[in-house]
Amino acid sequence: MEAIERRVNYLNVDHGIRSWLLTVDHKRIGLLYLVSITIMFFLGSLMAGAVRAELLTPQGDLMQSDTYNKAFTLHGIIMVFFFLIPSIPAVLGNFLLPIMIGAKDLAFPRLNLLSWYVYIVGASIGIAATIGGGLDTGWTMYTPYSTGYATTNVVFPALGIFITGFSSILTGLNFIVTVHKMRAPGLTWFRMPLFVWAHYATSLVMILGTPVIAITVLMVGLDRGLGLGIFDPKAGGDPVLFQHLFWFYSHPAVYIMILPAMGVISEVIPAFSKKRIFGYGFIAASSLAIALIGFLVWGHHMFTTTQSMYAALVFSVLTFAVAIPSAVKVFNWTATLYKGAVSFEAPMIYALGFIGLFLVGGLTGLFLGALGLDLHVHDTYFVVAHFHYIMVGGAIMGYMAGLHFWWPKITGRMYNDLAAKAAALLIFVGFNLTFFPQFIAGYAGMPRRYHYYPEEYQVLNVLSTAGASVLGLGYLLPLFYLLFSLRFGRHAGRNPWGAFGLEWMIESPPTPHNFDHTPTVTWEPYDYPEMHKLPTRIGESRSHVTLAEGQPTPPEGLAHV
């Protein structure tokens, strides 16, 4: 055991802050993102807490309306642009994508580091804008409010979003090139893990969609700063044009959040069922279908917005069409359990929680896609509940499942499984208590972004706030047991879950270059029945146990481990 600890790995190969800030190792960059987005997550949660506390009573008694409006705006902007969009791709995708395809790094390691710096610059500007006055437009920044009427500083947060977008584009580009060019010999497209397929689809959305939001916020800046009047009806502009441009990106952005989470679930379910994924081809194809059709449904955010009836029809029918590939995935995950050998460690609990919550989120999407019904529930708490079921119940649950699944690989340590299950349960219960009442409040007519609200909605809001407290507790818990595991957790070994895949055939934590020599892949993915015939370690030479040049000589007894 002692010896294992002293193996050269990506964590101990170099020391000091400089070695982290100048690293080009995809695994270290993944950890840089992990730390940054965790800070963002708790900042965004703080804003959510402020909003929920205010909504305990119908009167706006805790803060001024302007303050409340800033709180929900910053909650949205931080969570969407600075947490959810980078979350799984930039942390888990960065760490795992090269390993899963048998590569030593991403195609452009320096570009990868640049993406992180770009993200940090964008996020810092966003945070600086928070401290320097805030923004009160809602994360959607609808014109002409944002361009002509908001008295807060719109330009700085918009600049933050603009810059962060480039980070997303660079990551997407890097992933696409890596998947095309860096796959190990024998790793054909249909031998790729579904996590890789999901990230490939996500990357397509990132590079095709993100430039549009960049242009859009730039136009908002020009409109506001120079009075160009693109979105100003008084100058002949069209305020609704902004909504088209905004949703052309921001609807596919939902798939940037959820597709990687679906990728995670497609890894976790087979691993804890000890069984091949059901319908590999359908799941892979459905990721691409979601990415492509997802670009054609943006108009469903605008059914109440002076859209022509015929345009609304097209957007509605496509919205229903995009539900099918998502449904297929859910059925396939469920079918994977059938005749499996199912065990219930923490990642599996999170994954099952994901399926349940995503199911509710997806099905309530049907309510919103139905034109006549949407006219009633649009811009109410029904919509708020729906997208939180997708983004929190789906994307964050998936992120938690992935983080718990690969934590032993990333850190080499096991966390306390019981504590992790307790957190999963708290999150599941807290989440439902927070957001389910919002469906009811929404149908009963409570509009979103309301600081004051009529008294009849109070019971539901009190339930929601109570749930949010439980949810907050659930999210704080992993911070403790995961950090605790870094020092006190038992060593994980290569493959603590007995899972299938290249990442489980290398050291935990991996050596700096993942593989000493490139592995040759001869197997189908998720081939659990044949797993016993495969090597338990791959791509290794003995060299990894000697320390790099210039390092202190290894202690005695280490060389022959």
């Binding site: 809602g138 359990l337 139905a370 009963a444 979103r448």
Partner: protein, 347 residues
């Protein structure tokens, strides 16, 4: 029933029941799907749990016919929902011809309502029960959204644009009116109430009530109302404005003016200088007042000054109503030959 009060807002319009029917159908359908999936998931997970004698899953790749079945059945189901939702939407998008018209202006942070008989109100909308009401709406500043949960009706109110929606109230009472599109500091206070009255009571209310004093944008109407002791109709206000702005200098009631004759214009097809044709609806008349160069009528010089920025939305609306109220002069609309003859006659 407590449950229905809790789950549904009051059902007070003809739409409300139809929208709720689709909602209940979807709840039943989606609950069935969700329960089916969750029960299968839990059953499989428990029944095929890992234990001695079951340490590795069965070697199953998938099942293409099954995949096709569970892709196709949901597809049929969602298309059914699509058609149902779309048919409701079409109904909600097309006001009946006999609908009574009310003009709504959104403004940070209030709703200004004007009835065709002239009565105005703020943050309140009085309507008769059992009569279809068509709202023509616009905004003076940012985007707002007119939302009456009890009627299951919502439509965005966009500056520079006339949007419409309609409803027919079925229950007497007072209902919430909300702004559903975030519009700044006091967004959550941009609320009001809709009062549904007996038609007779509504008529009395229309003609005898006090005129709400409109501080902004209502100068002319307020002045007229105070002088006569009763509200002037928008068309009446529009006539005053028409004279005040000297529109009649060019838009003559007889042919031969610099601008087109306006009698009988509303609802008819207009041929433009570009060769296109448009229907002279409210939006067209509004646009032609505010930005006359946008759609120039064929055969007329581009000389009309713009009135953008000089008229409030309510004044513009009054002018539109006045133009719509003008009936065709005898002989008008029979092309330019008539004009020529008459001009010769005059000479």
């Amino acid at each position: 029933m407590f449950l229905s009060l809790f789950l549904f807002p009051p059902q007070a319009s003809t739409h409300a029941f139809e929208v709720d029917a689709l909602y209940v159908f979807l709840i039943v359908l989606c609950s069935a799907v969700a329960l089916g999936v969750v029960i299968s998931m839990l059953t499989f997970a428990y029944r095929f749990r890992r234990r001695a004698g079951n340490t590795i899953g069965a070697d199953i790749h998938g099942n293409t016919p099954l995949e096709l079945v569970w892709s196709f059945i949901p597809f049929v189901a969602v298309m059914f929902i699509f058609v149902w939702g779309a048919s409701l939407y079409f109904k909600l998008s097309r006001p009946p011809d006999n609908a009574m018209e009310v003009f709504v202006t959104g403004k940070q942070w209030m709703w200004k309502i004007q009835h065709m008989a002239g009565r105005r109100e703020i943050n309140e909308l009085h309507v008769p029960v059992g009569v279809p009401v068509k709202l023509t709406m616009t905004s003076e500043d940012v985007i707002h959204s007119f939302f009456v949960p009890a009627f299951r009706v919502k439509a965005d109110v966009v500056p520079g644009h006339y949007s419409t929606t309609w409803f027919e109230a079925t229950e007497l009472g007072t209902y919430h009116l909300f702004c559903a599109e975030y519009c700044g500091t006091e967004h959550s206070r941009m609320i009001g109430r809709v009062v549904v009255m007996e038609p007779a009571e509504y008529q009395t209310w229309l003609t005898t009530g006090n005129v709400t004093d409109v501080a902004a944008g209502g100068g002319m109407a307020t002045a007229m109302a105070t002088s006569t002791g009763q509200a002037a109709s928008p068309a009446k206000v529009g006539e005053q404005l028409f004279l005040e702005k000297a529109c009649q200098t060019c838009h003559l009631t007889s042919p031969g003016g610099i601008g087109p004759q306006l009698g009988g214009l509303a609802g008819h097809t207009v041929e433009l200088a570009t060769g296109e044709t448009v229907t002279a609806d409210d939006a067209y008349i509004r646009e032609s007042i505010l930005t006359p160069m946008a759609k120039l009528v064929k055969g007329y010089p581009p000389v009309m000054p713009t009135f953008a920025g000089q008229l409030s939305e309510e004044q513009t609306r009054a002018l539109v109503e006045y133009v719509k109220s003008l009936r065709a002069e005898p002989g008008a609309g029979e092309a330019t030959a008539v004009d020529a003859r008459q001009q010769v006659g005059v000479q």
